[in-house]
Structures are given as C-alpha cells and as structure tokens.
Symmetry: C2
C-alpha cells in the first residue's frame, strides 16, 4: 500500500482464499480470517470457450448456479462476524474496506485444463474478488465519507497493481452491480473485481479507438470528449480542479453518467492524491444525485475502464467510470432488447440534454 494515510492487512481464510483488510486507521492486531459454515462449493470447472461469430471468450462456471441468493440479514455473508458459531466472510474489526476472493469464482488462478470441445477452449485463468465497501450493511458507496471513498479508490488501485502484476492477468476490471434490478444477490454495499486473462472486448474496442485518435490527432479521445463537454457545459454534473462528471452527449442509457480525471491518467494506479481526492468528490456527487432523484437507492452498473495490465504503456488510455442506470424514467426499467442485444444499436427514449436536468436539479452536500 503506497498511499500515505491508508493501512492494509493481509490474511488467509481457512479454505485458502485471500482476505485483505484496509483502513484509514491502523488495523488492529489479532484479527482472524473467517468463512461461512457449510460445504465448500462443488468442484469447479471454470473454463473459457471461443465464440467464433462474435470473436469473444465466454466464461463457464457450473457451480455458480447455487450461489447465495438474497439471504436474510442474519445470514449476510458480507457483514462482520458477530457470533463465532455463525461466521461470515469477514471478521469483526476496525477496518473500513475488505477484499476477498469470491467463493464462487468464474475466473481462477491456475485453472485446470478445459474440456475438449468443438470450439477453442482455454482455462479460465484470472481472479474474481469481492470488495466490501463498508462494514455497515445499511450504507452505500455514495453515503461513505469522502476520505472513506478515497480509500475505496485506493483499494481498487491496490488490487489493479497486485492482480495486474500476475502473469495470467491482462486486464483488471473493478465494477459495482447495485440493486436487485441489475441482479444483485447480496444487498450489503459491495462491488467486485474481475481480473481477466485477456483484454475484454469493450475496453479493447475503446482502447483501439483511443489509440487511433491519439495517433491521428496527438490528443486523447476522452480528453477531447471532456473538453467538448466542458465547453458545451449543458450536461455537466460536477467540475472540480482535477475531476469531472457528466452525462455524455452520446449517452446510451437514460441516466448514463461518466466520471473521470480531467487529465488522461491511464489507470487507477497512477492517480495522484489530488486526483483521487477530487474523483471521490465527483463520484459522491453523482451517487448522491442518483439516490436523491427519487429518494430511493438508484440501481446501476458501474464500470471502471482503465489501461490493460499487459506491460505496455497505454498512453491512449484514460481511466474513467461509466454508470449504466437500470431505469430510463421513474418506475420504468430500461430493457435491453432486440435492437440493443441482437444488433448492437441502443435506442434511447430521451436526449441527454433533457435527462441531465433531472440530475442537475438534485442538490447534494458532500460533507
């Protein structure tokens, strides 16, 4: 952990899985890693198969069908353990953020040989980690104090560095699925990190287009997008000294918002302390506006796109957050249907210039 003011402790669970505890204060001694009771998951055979008509890998992990599904509060596996006879994934203690290896991983270090088949296959190497944002089951990413949110950013950076250093990892992807509307099976505030053994198709396409733009103009593509948004100003939600939040002019989802450092930092690991601080402010602004819009937790997918961990420099990359909200208007879900899923063309019912006004009208207080 390089960032001053943050603390980290590394533990190992009884079943061998990694457990990392992070804090704004030094983490107390004597913490012992726990895990829920019950049988270990059935033997996994995670593997990848090549989809020849889409040119992408598909991940298969048969044991995930039985993963924990919306447990009652007393069986929340992400809350700190309260009774020794009912251990959860996390011990009690004074940490703020915890990371551990998913009990039902779709990608695993040292994955064994895949079954021979009629398409190309390969072992599903990589990692699936759970990032618990807080010990408080009733909190949320947006409710965290700013310095706690900064710690989360530092945790993502720490995991990007450590996972990205592995030979079998080419791309580290932190994300959050929030709300039952996007399929969340555990309500405790948490995100996930997938470390893929290849650069996934969506970041790969973004990076390729960013590279082409950099080569032809000498400028960063997202940097240009941000400068256009700053100049136009109609779709801005936050503008700080180091970070910006906006609804892109080309938003595909009704309330899609992007958050990024103003400068083209390729990866979370390269953020300065000032950039991290302002990014936390931008993120908290967006998250509070989301929850304030209808006075209810606002479901979304949050994707962090950054440079691959393939040893190259990736000057074209510009780390950013993309939020894909589940609703297109109050009480109306956005369904991805024929045009979106079968053709790849998003159909929006509204223009960003109108939708952003709803979020702009929500007042938020950061501290």
């Amino acid at each position: 952990m390089t960032a001053p003011g943050f603390f980290k402790r590394t533990l190992t669970k009884p079943d061998g899985r990694l457990l990392l505890l992070y804090g704004r204060q030094p983490i107390m001694d004597g913490l012992v890693a726990t895990q829920p009771l019950g049988d270990a998951p059935a033997p996994a055979n995670p593997h990848l198969r090549w989809h020849p008509l889409r040119g992408e890998w598909v991940a298969y992990a048969g044991h995930r069908q039985n993963r924990t599904f919306l447990p009652p509060p007393e069986f929340n596996p992400l809350a700190p353990t309260q009774h020794a006879n009912n251990p959860t994934e996390l011990p009690a203690g004074n940490y703020d953020v915890a990371v551990f290896e998913n009990r039902f991983p779709a990608l695993v270090a040292g994955a064994h040989d895949p079954p021979a088949g009629v398409v190309d296959t390969r072992p599903a190497q990589g990692a699936c980690e759970v990032v618990v944002f807080t010990r408080d089951p009733s909190s949320s990413l947006g409710k965290l104090p700013l310095d706690h949110l900064e710690l989360v950013l530092e945790v993502w950076a720490d995991r990007t560095a450590e996972l990205g250093a592995r030979d079998d990892v080419k791309y580290v992807f932190p994300f959050e699925n929030r709300g039952v509307e996007v399929g969340v099976t555990l309500q405790h505030p948490h995100g996930q990190i997938y470390a893929y053994p290849f650069v996934p198709p969506i970041p790969a396409l973004e990076l390729e287009l960013q590279k082409q733009h950099l080569q032809s103009t000498g400028r960063g593509l997202l940097h240009d997008v941000i400068n256009n948004e700053l100049r136009d100003s109609r779709r801005l939600l936050y503008r700080g000294a180091e970070a910006v939040a906006f609804m892109p002019a080309f938003a595909r989802y009704g309330y899609e918002v992007w958050v990024a450092p103003l400068q083209a930092v390729p990866s979370l690991t390269l953020l300065s302390a000032a950039q991290r601080r302002d990014l936390a402010r931008a993120l908290k602004t967006v998250l509070l506006k989301f929850d304030g819009l209808w006075q209810r937790p606002f479901p979304y997918i949050m994707a962090i796109h950054q440079a691959p961990s393939d040893g190259e420099e990736h000057l074209e990359a510009h780390v950013h957050f993309e939020f894909y909200p589940a609703f297109r208007m109050q009480n109306r879900l956005k369904y991805l249907a024929g045009s979106e899923m079968g053709a790849g063309v998003f159909m929006a019912d509204s223009v960003p210039e109108d939708k952003v006004k709803e979020l702009q009208a929500v007042e938020v207080r950061l501290e």
Copy 2:
C-alpha cells in the same frame, strides 16, 4: 410477393403509414386501414449520435417515452378492430399476418436534420415496422400452424427485399421481443423489423469474422459451426433435411438456441421453398420446447442475422436465428451486469451440454 401460395395487400392508414396484409388465402376486398383514436404522437426528432469510444451510433427518439404500455385487452392496438368507434391498428378481415409502420418510430424515412452537437450526428433514417404474427391475441409464434409460420418467414423475406431496396437502408433486422421480462409492452403476438441506415455493430462483426473465415478456409464459418455441431450431436434440438436447431457450444445464455438452414443462404430473401418449410419446422420445434419446458410462455429475444442490404453479394453471410432467453434457470432471470455490459464478457452458470438436455427432454408435436 413472389412465393406461390401466399397473398398480400397493400393499404395506407389515415395518417399515411403503410399497412400490409398477408394471407395463405386471397385477402378479401374492401378492407380499410384503421388506426387508434387519439392525438398523433408529439413531433419526433429522431436522430443518431456517434459514440466515439465504442464506435457505434446511438438512436434518440424523444417521443417514445410515452408509447403504449401494457394496455388492457379491450385496448389491444394489435387485435383486429371490432367496433368502428374503437379502431385499432388493424382492420377485421381474413388476413393471417399484418405489418405496419410503428407509430413511435426510432428510425424514419426522410428523417430531418439532427441537432448540431458536440459529437457527430446524422438523421435517423430507416424504418421501424411492427409484424403482427396472427389475429389471435392468445396465440404465439410457436402455436401457429406450420404453413402460417412459413408465411411469417415469407413476410420477413418480403420486408427484407422491399426495405432493403431503399437507398437509406443498409440492413434489415427482423426480431421478436417476447414477454414482459424482456420489456414487451404489448402482449399480442408480434415482432418488429428495424431497417437501419448502416450495418449494425453485432451483424457487422459477425460478417467480418465470417468473411475472414471464408477467405482463409474457403468455407462458411457458420457452415463449419453447424457441421461441428452435427458431428458432435450432443447439443442438437432439430435436424431436418434443410434446417437445424442447436444450442451452440459457445452459448452465452443458459438456453440460447440457434436455428439456421444447413446451407449458407445469405438472406431470408434467398430461401428456397424447401428451406423455408424446414426452417418453419425447426423454429416451431424450438418454440414448443421453450414453452413446454416450464409449461409457461418462455420469454426471449429472437434476432435474425442475415446479409446487409448494401448491394454487395455477401457470400460470407448465412442467415440464422439467435434466441436469447431471459431465464438462466426456472424462476431465475439472467441479468446482464458488470462483466457482460461493462467488459463484454458473458458469464454462464452452466455448460450448454447440461442445459440442452432440459430442452431435449421436452417432447413436441409439430402438426
């Protein structure tokens, strides 16, 4: 209408929209095109904006937020008109299938100039049509008699030919969204056709990979996939003289099924009568297995991928149906979340060799 045994009549609605009626019998004279009462939709400004980081067009159509949403049966706009004072989109009559221009189109012929913005824009040219599969609100695509299903195939071919001949149309995409689980707002059995002014990203990628395979091997890519599936045989659901249905070894969805002619016919317009007949049998088999699996209507997205309508020959193309079911197991929806939507990597909880057995076990009777 070239196919013998099918009949077609062309009408115009009071508001100028096209109405096409198709039948297995000659269509009666004297039918008058109708439309629902009420104000015409607010003026549309459909347009496309370029997403520079994904390299794709996004379609915007502000008036679609107010489109008809799950009306009660007496206001079903897709049922034949029963009372002159309560007209629907369709007249009473002896037709089997009807097609009309969507009242809330996201793509329109002669779309006007898009607003100037900070990203590239263009008019949302093209067409959005509704295909009503039957006059019976309680039927479904799979319940139709085989010759009625053949007619639907011929209707799709007819629209592909007519829309594809337009200068502003480069790709004709017939699809069906089925079930409230995929966002369907009208329960009457129907599909849609989008005619895009460009080749959409997903078919474009498929075609590019098919072209590369054809150039390097001299064989069709889907043709090779099909032959591998026939040889392996574990994932087959239907095997006729001219058509096949199978769960691909690289299925991304739990119950994903593909249906295709055995030979590499590029487009629906080029199907022989024998191919169309056997495709109808393959489709009906799959649809009845879907509905028989849990004895309930089975929600899915059905996408038809075929050659572009750009005047080129497209020997690499091989028309096929891809079904993306909404459920990954009984009562459990498949949510597309962080990995799928943010990275482009599908995570399957099961392997096709297991899932296909559930569908194989469902017995169906075609006639």
